[in-house]
């Protein structure tokens, strides 16, 4: 399957099941809303923890949504067809990652500045939070896809996926939340955003190959 065909197929399929787009978004908003309730509603405290809270919630939302990346295809048998097709697996894997991010990651990124505002994140950090998530969440989806490719078909794969993937998410979290926190203190953030962009490019080029290898392994290839 070509890149465009896979991308179009994924978008159409997701469009017909809007819950798969909306649920991660609700999850993201709800997790963030738990923090003022659980920690403290005081503005000075919330503004300090806001970048980390938004980033961790986004990370968990990506983790939960990426788990379904191959589930429907696996159950319907479309995944096997993809594997036996005489074309390279790299391109459809890349397309699936990008489509999945467009449908579940991008909405999170768009909502994040609002949540930052609700957590009293200083206004000058709002743009950095947005840009950081824009560069960081596709990386999270790409890394998550590697874990999903290995756990597709494994029983209770969800919690296993979290065990495998969360340690790998640390660099993105450190630089992403770090950039927003720097911006809140008025420090320059170009370098941190550049590192996030570098991680994005590296993961988008390397992860599809690993996902393809993982899919072949977990389908007994």
């Amino acid at each position: 399957m070509s890149f465009r065909a896979t991308l179009k197929r994924e978008v159409v399929l997701a469009w017909r099941r809007p819950a798969e787009i909306i649920n991660p978004l609700f999850f993201f908003v709800m997790v963030v809303a738990m923090f003022p309730l659980g920690v403290s509603p005081k503005a000075d405290l919330l503004s300090v923890i806001a970048p980390g809270v938004v980033w961790v919630a986004a990370l968990l939302a990506v983790l939960l949504s990426v788990e379904g990346l191959f589930r429907n295809d696996f159950e319907a048998g479309a995944l096997e067809q993809m594997l036996v097709a005489p074309t390279n697996l790299y391109v459809p894997c890349l397309a699936k990652i990008i489509a999945h991010w467009l449908l579940t990651g991008l909405p999170l990124v768009l909502v994040a500045p609002l949540l930052g505002y609700m957590l009293h994140l200083p206004e000058q950090a709002s743009m950095t939070l947005f840009l950081g998530l824009l560069l960081g969440t596709p990386t999270l989806t790409a890394i998550g896809a590697i874990g999903v490719s290995l756990t597709v078909g494994v029983r209770s794969g969800g919690i296993l996926l979290a065990l495998l993937i969360l340690p790998l998410y640390v660099p993105v979290l450190v630089f992403g939340a770090g950039a927003a926190a720097y911006a809140a203190n008025g420090a320059p953030v170009e370098g941190l955003l550049a590192i996030l962009a570098a991680m994005l490019l590296a993961s988008l080029t390397l992860a599809p190959a690993a996902v393809a290898a993982g899919l072949r392994i977990s389908n007994g290839g």
């Binding site: 590697i146 290995l150 756990t151 494994v154 029983r155 209770s156 794969g157 296993l160 065990l163 495998l164 969360l166 340690p167 790998l168 640390v170 660099p171 450190v174 630089f175 770090g178 991680m199 390397l206 690993a210 290898a213 993982g214 392994i217 977990s218 007994g220």
Partner: protein, 247 residues
């Protein structure tokens, strides 16, 4: 030279050759491991001079540093084995991953626990979110992830190949994790041992440290070889050669 190396590499990649020759090697390796470990640890704990700043509390270094470095080395070994397994589909590679993962996790845990015990008198706290501590904690998580993945997949070959891929991804990531958390926070003392250049440690302390590190490495090697032998016996239980060897 190159031919000898490749032949040696392929021979050790076959379970049968591995099983036979590790059986020859182990009776020599075990006493050597115990000897170096005992000499290194006893020398370090009882006879090495006390530190002028930290007094006797620094002596935990003779356990802490060897365990931490062996945990790191084990993780790299797992990544190399994973690459070998993915590229050449060598049977021994995923057996090695299965052999290394649990012991490596234990070593990482030992490094964390001894570090906490050492941290109390030196820094006044058992735990800080410092770069080195955090990266060791994450390495423990990565070890546990490989372990959990292997346990979740019933077919041993498939489990091995999945763990191979995860170890390769993990090794690439460990480097990034290390630098990212270092940038994030660091309180840990700088590395005392240097491969190149002069170590910042007097030789009366350095010698027992190096010996106990060698001891841990040898002990690690012995355990991995033994676990790999057990795994070979499980996987090849139906093959003729194993019966002949064991007879």
């Amino acid at each position: 030279m190159w031919q000898t190396l490749t032949r040696w590499y392929h021979q050790w990649g076959s379970p049968r050759y591995f099983f036979q020759y590790s059986g020859v090697l182990l009776p020599w390796l075990w006493p050597l491991a115990v000897l170096t470990l005992v000499v290194g640890v006893v020398w370090g704990l009882a006879f090495a001079p006390a530190d002028y700043q930290q007094g006797n509390s620094y002596r935990i270094i003779f356990i802490h540093v060897p365990a931490a470095s062996a945990a790191l080395l084990g993780y790299i070994a797992m990544g190399v084995a994973g690459l070998v397994g993915l590229v050449w589909r060598m049977k021994m590679a995923d057996i090695m991953i299965k052999a290394i993962a649990p012991f490596g996790a234990v070593l990482a845990a030992i490094a964390l626990i001894t570090g906490a015990i050492w941290g109390k008198p030196t820094w006044g706290t058992y735990w800080v979110w410092d770069a080195r501590l955090t990266s060791m904690l994450l390495m423990l998580f990565l070890y546990l992830g490989v372990f959990a993945l292997m346990n979740a997949i019933p077919d041993p070959r498939q489990a091995g190949r999945a763990a191979s891929l995860l170890s390769v991804v993990g090794v690439i990531n460990v480097v990034i994790v290390k630098y990212s958390v270092e940038w994030w926070q660091s309180l840990h003392q700088g590395s005392t041992l240097k491969v190149v250049g002069e170590s910042a440690m007097p030789s009366e302390m350095l010698a027992p440290l190096l010996i106990s590190m060698l001891g841990i490495y040898l002990f690690f090697a012995c355990t991995v070889l033994m676990r790999a032998r057990t795994e070979i016996m499980v996987r090849e239980r139906k093959s003729q050669w194993l019966r002949e060897v064991l007879r």
